[in-house]
Structures are given as structure tokens and as C-alpha cells.
């Protein structure tokens, strides 16, 4: 059974969520993580929307965390990557790796 694969931005979100872990992965932290590592400007709204899609597909699960003072006393929605999500990440990265094997990027350019 082949796992569903992820779109590029979804993959970034999933990887960030895996890195941050279930206690600190949520919209703002994920957006910040991607921004700091890739240097690209990440719109919070896109992360929010992507997380909704991923949750619908069953790749992540979410729950409200504890209220935090820096959030004006409001709780974040913490996300946990599900085993199905991990499988999807593997499927996607494997596919990329497979496609890149033997490829000499310099020549393409």
C-alpha cells in the first residue's frame, strides 16, 4: 500500500512539526521554524490552512494546549504528527531521493 505523498509546502510544515515535537508545534512556531531555516517568508495563514488540510487527511492530530502569557492568555493548538503522517513524509522524501539519484544538478543547469 503506497502512502499518500505531500506537496512541497506541506512537507515543510510536516518536517517542522516533527522537529519541534508535540509540545511546541503550532501555527506560529512552525511558521517561524520554516522561516529561520529556509529563509523564505512564510505566511501564517498558509501554515494555518496547511495544518487544517493535513489534519483532515489524518497526517496530524491537534489539541488545545495550556494558555500562555505571550499569547494573551490564550492556548495554542498543538499538533502531533501521526504515524500515517510519518509514513507520508517518508513516501515523499523517498520519492524525491529516488528522483535525484544519479542526477548531477550542475549539468542540468
Amino acid at each position: 500500500m503506497g502512502s499518500e505523498s505531500l506537496a512541497e509546502f506541506e512537507l515543510l510544515v510536516m518536517l517542522a512539526a516533527l522537529r519541534l515535537g508535540p509540545k511546541s508545534a503550532y501555527t506560529v512556531s512552525i511558521a517561524e521554524d520554516i522561516r529561520s531555516r529556509t529563509g523564505r517568508l512564510v505566511r501564517r495563514a498558509n501554515v494555518f490552512t496547511a495544518l487544517r488540510r493535513l489534519e483532515e487527511k489524518g497526517f496530524v492530530a491537534s489539541h488545545l494546549g495550556d494558555p500562555r502569557p505571550e499569547r494573551g492568555g490564550r492556548p495554542p493548538r498543538l499538533v502531533t504528527v501521526t504515524p500515517k503522517g510519518v509514513a507520508a513524509v517518508h513516501a515523499t522524501t523517498d520519492a524525491i531521493r529516488a528522483m535525484m539519484a544519479d542526477l548531477v544538478l550542475g549539468k542540468v543547469r
Binding site: 501564517r44 498558509n46 494555518f48 505571550e70 499569547r71 492556548p75
Partner: protein, 896 residues
């Protein structure tokens, strides 16, 4: 340090309830980080951009999320059932009100559906159509052109497979054993049987040869006639049935249930030759046809329109304004305005449920409002607005579907009852395809009503409570600062309802009273022992005008002969001939000699006999007064000499003298009358009649009070008597057959119908009246119920709202009176205002209608209803108020 207020407000508005915390938290965190990094000004700008971006995402998300209707779970239904049990009084009142509404609505739907949508139970019955000329003339005039148009239609139309025509005539049926009845005989073309596609049970149907002039007189009879009149004899074919004065040979028997074209049991060939009549003056016939395969009604109409234009050009005198139209066969009788009227009735009947459902919604809202905390908490826990609405819908649907089921059950009887009271008495005029059983369509309709009611009761308040108020509510859950309020509109509604109940209830009670008193009021006439009958003569196709006087004389002779023969019977003590029944006399305008005719008054509907310009007139024989027990006050009755000499004398009653002559002795005064065709007495050469006697008043039937009457002697050459009354020494019932035998023995064309005891004649029209009376009563009852429930709900609501106040007052040692007074006061004021307004409305309406509305019982009914309403209202308010007293102070205060 916080994000700008507008950004929070915007996102709060757009986010789903379960997302709000997260989205606002994200906004806040991102904004604060941004402020720390880039300073306040830039951060605000960035946050603004991000907020708009986020808002767009939320909107997209919202549109994307499939708008599936939230599923109603079994748990919701169970909860709904539990709510019903928990509030039994509320449930019962709501359910009763809605049951009534559903019953009335579904009965109306069923009846209208039976009339408008019943299918013709024949093979491909939907392809049978009626073709009719329509125009500006009266219907009879239009149908008088059919006989001449039919041959052209028949030869020219490709869209029609076969044409048929018929006319219905009333005839006496006489079997070989001398048994007479009157029936509506249909004279139909032989093709009618082919179009109906029903083979005979015995023998044959009519054939074209039967239609030729000079052919043998044959008839086809229905199953019922075969069974009843021929005892189901197998050798019925070839036997004789006399139709009117002509013996017909029975050639066929149709199977049970066949009654085409309207509701007929006896068929004779239609023998009308267009050559015998001038165009436009032929006897009226109805035309029907079967549409050829592959063509629609529209195709037929196109062809007809072309033909119509050709005919109009050829015969401008008769056809210029005529337009042939095709109708579905079953809708011939209910086209155009009638159909609209019926549909309007349907809408109104359905509106009743809407009104009642809104009332119930008000009641339930009082309950829902007390559950606002629950709803707020549910929403906070992530229940969407739709989910909350679905839950309340389910609860309401439990109630409304129970009511609908009960209503459907009642409607089944209601329909049968409507049919029995108002439809079947029309006998053979009722089309055979009308089906008054409860159809699946009616069941679906009542289910639809249940859903509609549940939406009104459940969904509308749910949306109201989960809207903008929700957030306010969320804050209040903790503080309990504000309780829900019952709007001013609803308070007004309840007052209006009480007023309406008080205004309508007397009418309903009066209707119920009349109904249980056995319909119309009893009469003071002596009617026992009388058998009455209606007299008609078989109409010839066209009596020449010159023969008219002869004809009337001949008919009068016939009637005299019948009367004489009946009087000769040993059981008969007296025979009366009357122009009209004692209750059917037409009201005519009159003029007293030497007094200005009343001028400038309209011949309006509100003018009733005895008001000074109208008087009920009828021609009677000299025996009338004594026989029916109408005592003489002064002067004299008619004599046989008056009748023989055609004297211009008149006997009036007491009411007439009171009203028209203000009690002055009327003897010798002269009076003349208008006619029903020309109501003004002075405009034609009306005869002056001399008043020779005054009799006591009589009443009965549907008139509440005795009316002004003038009795004229029957005169030779005058109007023919239409009513026969035979006084018998014994039981009238067994004598019915003898009356028929005597009448048909004298003249087979004399039709004697409605042979019933005279006492029953004044019950004419009772059936529809009962339908109206019971419907009114049911409506009045539901209005009363809802008004009471409204008061109850109002009180409950007030008590809930003032729970704390009541608790504190009670804790501080207030007496029950002191505690309850302010609570009760509001309800009582509303009750008083409602009752007063209702009374005024009822009294004014009754007066405007001249006391007819309450049959003169207003003085009793109005105070009774006011007292009842007050008592019931106080009781309704008292229950919740008492419950308020039982509020434990500690409990009320603990809520804080």
C-alpha cells in the same frame, strides 16, 4: 502591547467558534514577537497585513468546508422526548395546538387534492381531455355552440384520437314493477365508451347506430342500477326501463365503479342533430376527447386555436368572441379562478400551522432561553451554530412529528367527515374520480408541516441564541449578571392573542352550541306527520314561447290531479302545495301605498328581511296556515275563493307589522313587491295587494329571529308550486313509495325528489354548516389553548428571570403576597388589556352584523368568555408564580 483591536474583532468574527482561541492566540503571539523585533509601528503594519491574509484564509476555509446539514442523532431525539416529558403541560398544549392545525391543514389539503388532483381511474385517463368553447357569454351559451363545432373538430383534428359528447338530464326511472326514482341520466355518444376503454359486464355498450333518429330506444345501465332495480337478474338484457316517458330496452350493464362521464349510472344515446337547431341555440353539450398518442395538451390547443379562428371568421355572430380551449378532463370543473381560490384556501390552511408554530415557538423559546447557559457552554466546547440548531430542531421535531401523526389521524376522520357532510349529499353531481381517502400526498404534506413547524420552533430561536448574543452569553455564564429577556414584540403578541381568543371564542362557542343543539334552531311550526317533496317537470329541449301558457296550465292541472289523488288516499289527511319551502322564500323589496318607497338604500347584503325594505314572500294555498299551525292575529286567512278568483290579497306576519307599519293596524293597507329579477317595486306595473290578515311569526332553520313575511295566495297561471307537503295520519316514511307511484301515474314527466319528512327540509344546508361550525370551534379552542399557554410561558419566563429577586425577597422575610405581587402584576395587566380589547372587538363585530354572529346570545356569551379567560389566565399565571415562591433563597443566591 496587544494586537490592534480591529484585527482581533475581525478574526473573532470570521473564525469558527472552536478556532477563536487559537487564532487570536496566534495573532497575539505573532504581533508581540514582531513588536519585539521591529518596533511598534512596523509591527502594527505587518500585523494588519497578516490579519487580512488570515481573514482571507478563514473565509476560504469557510467556503471550502462542505455545508453538510448537521446530522441529527438518536441522542437528540431522545433528549427531545425527555424534554417533552419534563415539561408535560407545555408539551401537551403545544402538541394539541399543532395537532389541530395539522388536522385542519391536512384535511383542507386532502379535500382540495381530491378535487384538483384526483386522477381519472381509466386506462390512460390522463390523456382524456375536455374541449370547451370559452368566451364572454355565460357558460350555457358557450356550450350551446358545441353541437355545431363538434363535426368540424372531429373531422379536422389530428391530435385527437376520438371525440365524445354528452349532456346530463334529470329523468324519472320506472322499472317494470312500477318502482320510480329520479336520476341524472346521461345522454352520451357511443364513442364515449370507446374513449373510456371499459368493456361492458353484460351485453354491449351503446353503438353509433343507436344515435340515429328512429333507432330503437336503448339504454346501458350501471352495476348499481342492475342490482337495485333489477335485483341483479341475469336476464336483464332486453327488459324495459322507462326513462321519463319513453320505455328503453336495456342492452348492456357496465361493471361496478364505472360512472363516466361524471357520476352516472344510466346511459342513453345522444340524439341531437345539428341540422335541427340554429347555430348557437342548440342544447348545451359537453365535449371530451382522447388525445392521440405522441401529442400533448399544448399540441391540441394549437390545433384548436387555428380551428377556432376559422370558425370565428365563418360565423362571426356566434363565434367571434369564442375561443376553444382544452383542459385535463378532471379539471374541467375547477379551472381558472376556482383553482386559484382552492389554492388560496390551501395556503391559508397551511398558514394556520405557521401561526400556531410561531406561537409554540414563543412558548418553547421561554424554555430555550432558560437553557441559554447550556447552549453557550456547548458552543464553547466546539458545537457549531448548525449543530446547536440541529439539536433544537430535533427536539422540536419530536414534538411536531408527534403532533403531525396525531393530526394525520384526525385528518383521516376529518376528510371522511367533510366528504360525508358537504360532498356526498351532492349525490350524482360529485365526479366519480374524487377520492377523499387519505393519500400518500396528504401524509407527505403533514410530514412537511411537521418539518416546517420544527424549523420555526427549533431552528429560528436556536439561530437567535447562537448569534451575536452568544459571546455576551459566554461572559454571563460566569457572572449571571443578565438573564435573557422576552422582547416587547412577544409581549404584545401574547396580549393580542388573549384579545383574539376573547373575540373569537364566543363565535366558536356559539358554533359549538348550535352544532350540539342539532344544527339549526327548532321551529314553532307544526311539521310532524308531514312528508315533503320537491316537484320538478322534465324539461323539453325548447318549449316554443307560444306554448308556454298552455304548458303552465297543463302542469298546474297535473299538480292539482296529484294533490286530489293523494287526498283520496286513506292515510292522507291534507295535501299542501307551496311555491317554496317555508324557509326558502325569497326576500323581495316592498312598497306600502301612500308611503315613499325607501330611497337611496343599496340592495346590499346586510339588508335582511324585516329591516324595513325587504320581506320574505311566498305563494301558498289557503290551508297553509292552519295545517302548519300559524295562528291568526287579526283579519282573516286566504280562502279557496281568493285562490279561485285570483284575488290580490296578502297576509302578513307580526314582524312585518312591527317593522314596516310600526304596529299600526295594517288591514286594508295596500302593498306591492319587486321581483327577484327587478327588485324595485315601483319600476314596473306591480300589482297592489290588499292586506287582509295578520298571522303570528314563525321561525326555524338558520334564522335567529322571526323575519318579516308576506303570504300571497297561489294563483292560476302564476308560478308553479315547487313543494308538496302531505300530512299523514300515521308514520310518513312508509308512504314515500306511494307518493312516487301516484305522481308518476299522473304524469311520468313529473319528478318528485327529496321526499323527506317536512321537518327535515329546514335542515337543508346543515352539512356544510356543521363542517364550518366544528372547524370554527376547533380554531377557537386552539386559540384559547395558545393564549393560555402564552400567558403561562410569559409568567414562567418572568419568574425565571426574577428568580434571584424572588429568592432575596423571600430570604428577607417578604410575605408571599409581597413577593409575588410585582411578578403577577405584569401578567394580570396584560390579561386585563387583552380581555378588554377582545370583548370590545367581539361586541362591535356582533353589533355590525346585527347580532347574527352570536345569534343574539352575546349578552350571555361575552361575559362568560371574559370570565373564563380571566380565570384560565390567572390559573396559567399562578402556576409559575407559585413555583417562584418555592425557590429556595439559598439556591437562588448560590447561583451567584
Amino acid at each position: 502591547l496587544s494586537a490592534p483591536r480591529w484585527t482581533r474583532a475581525l478574526l473573532r468574527r470570521l473564525a469558527r467558534p472552536d478556532e477563536i482561541e487559537e487564532v487570536l492566540g496566534d495573532l497575539e503571539e505573532a504581533h508581540r514577537t514582531s513588536v519585539a523585533r521591529r518596533g511598534r509601528l512596523i509591527a502594527s503594519a505587518l500585523t494588519a497585513i497578516e490579519t487580512l491574509d488570515m481573514a482571507a484564509a478563514l473565509l476560504r476555509e469557510r467556503r471550502r468546508s462542505p455545508r453538510t446539514l448537521p446530522v441529527v442523532s438518536w441522542l437528540d431525539l431522545k433528549l427531545g422526548l425527555r424534554m417533552l416529558v419534563k415539561h408535560p403541560a407545555l408539551s401537551l398544549v403545544s402538541a394539541l395546538g399543532m395537532t389541530l392545525a395539522v388536522a385542519i391543514g391536512t384535511s383542507a389539503f386532502g379535500a382540495i387534492h381530491a378535487i384538483t388532483a384526483s386522477r381519472l381511474p381509466l386506462d390512460e385517463g390522463e390523456r382524456i381531455v375536455t374541449i370547451q368553447n370559452t368566451g364572454w357569454g355565460g357558460l350555457g351559451q358557450e356550450r350551446a355552440t358545441h353541437l355545431h363545432d363538434l363535426p368540424l373538430w372531429r373531422s379536422a383534428m389530428r391530435t385527437i384520437q376520438g371525440f365524445g359528447a354528452y349532456r346530463i338530464v334529470t329523468r324519472n326511472l320506472l322499472t317494470e314493477d312500477g318502482d320510480v326514482t329520479t336520476a341524472r341520466v346521461v345522454e352520451m355518444t357511443a364513442s364515449g365508451f370507446d374513449i373510456a376503454r371499459v368493456p361492458p359486464l353484460l351485453g354491449r355498450t351503446l353503438i353509433e347506430a343507436d344515435e340515429r333518429a328512429g333507432a330503437a330506444d336503448v339504454t346501458v345501465i350501471g352495476y348499481g342500477v342492475w342490482q337495485d332495480r333489477f335485483g341483479g337478474a341475469t336476464d336483464v338484457l332486453g327488459r324495459t326501463l322507462r326513462i321519463g316517458s319513453t320505455p328503453h330496452t336495456v342492452v348492456g350493464v357496465m361493471p361496478q365503479g364505472f360512472a363516466f362521464p361524471i357520476n352516472n349510472r344510466v346511459w342513453a344515446p345522444l340524439r341531437l342533430n345539428p341540422l335541427d337547431h340554429r347555430r348557437g341555440e342548440a342544447p348545451a353539450i359537453d365535449v371530451f376527447a382522447r388525445v392521440a398518442p405522441g401529442y400533448s395538451l399544448g399540441d391540441v390547443q394549437v390545433e384548436l386555436t387555428t380551428l377556432g379562428a376559422r370558425l370565428a371568421a365563418a360565423y362571426p355572430d356566434t363565434q367571434e368572441e369564442m375561443q376553444p380551449r382544452v383542459y385535463p378532463y378532471t379539471q374541467e370543473l375547477i379551472w381558472g379562478p376556482t383553482a386559484w381560490f382552492l389554492r388560496l384556501g390551501q395556503v391559508l390552511a397551511s398558514m394556520l400551522l405557521v401561526v400556531i408554530a410561531i406561537n409554540v415557538a414563543v412558548l418553547v423559546y421561554a424554555r430555550t432561553a432558560t437553557r441559554s447557559d447550556e447552549i453557550v457552554v456547548r458552543s464553547a466546547l466546539g458545537a457549531s451554530r448548525a449543530r446547536v440548531a440541529a439539536q433544537l430542531f430535533a427536539e422540536a421535531f419530536v414534538l411536531s412529528s408527534l403532533a403531525a401523526a396525531a393530526g394525520l389521524f384526525v385528518a383521516r376522520w376529518g376528510l371522511e367527515w367533510i366528504a360525508m357532510m358537504a360532498v356526498w349529499p351532492m349525490g350524482e353531481q360529485v365526479p366519480f374520480w374524487w377520492d377523499f381517502s387519505l393519500t400518500p400526498a396528504a401524509a407527505a404534506y403533514s410530514f412537511g408541516l411537521a418539518v416546517l413547524a420544527a424549523v420555526i420552533i427549533g431552528v429560528v430561536p436556536a439561530l437567535g441564541m447562537t448569534g451575536r448574543r452568544l459571546r455576551a452569553g459566554l461572559q454571563n455564564v460566569a457572572s449571571r449578571a443578565a438573564a435573557p429577556r422576552l422582547g416587547r414584540t412577544w409581549t404584545t403578541l401574547i396580549v393580542a392573542q388573549v384579545a383574539f381568543a376573547v373575540a373569537v371564542l364566543p363565535v366558536g362557542l356559539n358554533a359549538v352550541g348550535s352544532f350540539f343543539a342539532g344544527g339549526p334552531r327548532p321551529t314553532n311550526l307544526t311539521l310532524d306527520g308531514f312528508l315533503s317533496a320537491r316537484l320538478d317537470f322534465e324539461e323539453d329541449d325548447r318549449p316554443a314561447a307560444a306554448d308556454r301558457t298552455d304548458m303552465i296550465q297543463a302542469r298546474q292541472a297535473t299538480l292539482s290531479a296529484v294533490a286530489q289523488r293523494l287526498e283520496a288516499e286513506p292515510e292522507v289527511s291534507r295535501v299542501l302545495l307551496m311555491e317554496v319551502s317555508p324557509w326558502g322564500d325569497p326576500d323581495l323589496r316592498f312598497e306600502l301605498e301612500g308611503r315613499e318607497p325607501p330611497a337611496g338604500e343599496s340592495f346590499g347584503a346586510l339588508e335582511s328581511a324585516g329591516t324595513g325594505t325587504l320581506v320574505g314572500t311566498s305563494r301558498v294555498g289557503p290551508e297553509f296556515f292552519e295545517a302548519l299551525g300559524v295562528p291568526l292575529v287579526t283579519g282573516r286567512y286566504f280562502t279557496r275563493a281568493d285562490v279561485a278568483a285570483a284575488s290580490d290579497v296578502v297576509v302578513v306576519n307580526h314582524v312585518f307589522v312591527e317593522h314596516a307599519l310600526a304596529g299600526v293596524s295594517p288591514l286594508g293597507r295596500r302593498i306591492r313587491f319587486g321581483t327577484s329579477g327587478n327588485p324595485e317595486p315601483g319600476t314596473e306595473e306591480a300589482v297592489w295587494y290588499t292586506i287582509v290578515g295578520v298571522v303570528e311569526d314563525h321561525w326555524g332553520g338558520f334564522t335567529a329571529r322571526p323575519e318579516a313575511k308576506a303570504f300571497l295566495p297561489m294563483k292560476p297561471g302564476g308560478p308553479l308550486p315547487r313543494y308538496l307537503a302531505v300530512e299523514l295520519r300515521g308514520d310518513p316514511a312508509p308512504f314515500i313509495r306511494r307518493v312516487l307511484e301516484v305522481a308518476s301515474g299522473v304524469d311520468p314527466k313529473l319528478q318528485v325528489t327529496r321526499l323527506v319528512p317536512l321537518a327535515d327540509v329546514y335542515r337543508d344546508g346543515e352539512g356544510p354548516l356543521r363542517v364550518i361550525a366544528l372547524t370554527l370551534a376547533a380554531l377557537a379552542l386552539s386559540v384559547l389553548l395558545l393564549a393560555v399557554a402564552g400567558l403561562y410561558a410569559l409568567m414562567s419566563f418572568t419568574v425565571v428571570r426574577r428568580r434571584r429577586e424572588i429568592g432575596i425577597r423571600a430570604a428577607l422575610g417578604g410575605t408571599s403576597y409581597a413577593v409575588l405581587r410585582p411578578v403577577l402584576a405584569r401578567a394580570l395587566v396584560q390579561l386585563a388589556v387583552g380581555v378588554a380589547a377582545g370583548l370590545a372587538l367581539a361586541a362591535l363585530t356582533d353589533r355590525a352584523l346585527g347580532g347574527e354572529m352570536l345569534s343574539g346570545r352575546g349578552a350571555v356569551l361575552l361575559p362568560m368568555v371574559a370570565a373564563l379567560m380571566t380565570a384560565v389566565g390567572v390559573a396559567a399565571a399562578w402556576g409559575p408564580a407559585r413555583r417562584g415562591l418555592n425557590v429556595q433563597p439559598t439556591e437562588a443566591l448560590r447561583a451567584d
